[in-house]
């Protein structure tokens, strides 16, 4: 068991896969959060803050503006891989603070939680050793190592546990009724009565009760089984695309956008296989 865990986390991997994932992840976060108005929370009333085990103090507006800008610069540096270690550490520290502020008003934002964990993992990783300007400057070609495997595994585990939690919550709070009754159809309909209503596409699905039951069953199944992707390549081929379709379905028919879950799914790309099949002479790191 212990040996299997060791292999799972630390089997040697080429550094390029982790490096490419780093570039995609930080570039994606930069694109997603470049225009987010974190600073506007500075003057929002404390009555809107929700119950958390710790609510970070909200800094003055000028500080939040500065924190956001520094964070974006750190994300950009981490994306291209200049001063990678420092850039990833700053990205983690400031990202955690900004997301925590954002998530302490009204209700917790579940979209950002796995990102915080991923930023923490990458801050402790050697993800800048390849596919980075740092690597170009050093002219180093690191050997395959467990260093380039475990960060991807850690983020995969975080994603799998998030999906598992969502599936368990549905069974715990709703039981099989969540799937077998009119529940999902009524939830689809209910979205149209929010102050800011859903797009209207939710009503198209709500017209087909059986489809709603099928979607509910598929959602719970995907969430509960997603963890199999950790141990089975075949399951991964089905469950990861299914989860992406599910998240896109949430956005299209329900409203909430779990875009960061989609972005984080880059950790599932089979870099070892993809890089092995590249044409000769295209280099392995950078």
């Amino acid at each position: 068991m212990r040996a299997a865990c060791e292999r799972f986390l630390f089997a040697p991997a080429a550094p390029a896969g982790l490096g490419i994932t780093r570039a995609l992840l930080y570039g994606g976060l930069l694109a997603l959060y470049a225009r987010t108005g974190f600073a506007d929370y500075a003057d929002v009333s404390e009555v809107f803050r929700c119950e958390l085990w710790f609510r970070p103090p909200v800094a003055p507006e000028a500080w939040l503006v500065a924190a956001h800008r520094v964070w974006l610069v750190a994300l950009a540096l981490a994306c291209v891989g200049i001063f990678s270690r420092a850039a990833m550490a700053i990205s983690f520290a400031l990202g955690t603070y900004l997301f925590w502020i954002d998530g302490s008003f009204g209700r917790v934002h579940h979209n950002e939680l796995p990102v915080v964990l991923a930023l923490g993992v990458f801050a402790a990783s050697r993800a800048g050793d390849a596919f980075s300007l740092d690597a170009l400057r050093r002219r180093a070609r690191p050997e395959p190592s467990g260093e380039y495997r475990w960060p991807l595994r850690a983020v995969q585990i975080a994603l799998a546990l998030a999906f598992l939690a969502a599936g368990i919550a549905k069974l715990r709070n709703g039981g099989l009724e969540w799937i077998t009754t009119d529940n999902l159809r009524l939830q689809f309909l209910g979205r149209s009565y929010s102050l800011v209503p859903a797009s209207g596409r939710n009503l198209l699905v709500a017209r087909m009760p059986l489809l709603c039951n099928v979607l509910a069953a598929a959602t719970v199944a995907c969430e509960l089984l997603y963890g199999l992707s950790l141990v089975s390549a075949r399951a991964r081929m089905i469950l990861v695309p299914a989860s992406l379709a599910m998240i896109q379905g949430f956005a299209t028919f329900f409203g909430p956008r779990f875009t960061t879950f989609m972005l984080l799914s880059v950790v599932w790309l089979p870099w070892d296989r993809l890089l092995r099949h590249r044409p000769r002479g295209s280099g392995s790191s950078v």
Partner: protein, 152 residues
Amino acid sequence: MTRSRRLLANLLVLGIVAGSAAAIATGRELWPFSPYPMFSGVHRETTVARHWIYGVLPDGREVPLSDRRFFHPLRPAQLEAAFARLGPAERREGLDDILSRYEARRAAGRHGGPRVTGLRLYRMTFELEADAGNRDRPLARELLAEAPGETR
């Protein structure tokens, strides 16, 4: 890979597993770990209750403020969750807060909403209909708070 680096990696992975397991087991938000309870309740009723914010125009008419830009940086889901748990005095304080930011942002040209002299928070109850054609005809409309003005 050195022993200390391996230990660090193991501790991080263990932390992720333990934090997630604790959130799942307790059903509590343990930021950044969560039991991810969104949409997990079962909807059995054919009615639905929602909190709507109306703007009071200078001529006294009311209009629902149904554009997410009006409430920035708070999102509609954040407002709904907050107003659902707040007491009367806090609702009034919250509305005051939204009103001042709404007008400041409108004056700065950051949204195109109408000028309002006040806000009213209602709990709206609707019969669910297949085409949602009754959005403007709630079964019940209960005034919860008003800003500026009396709290009910």
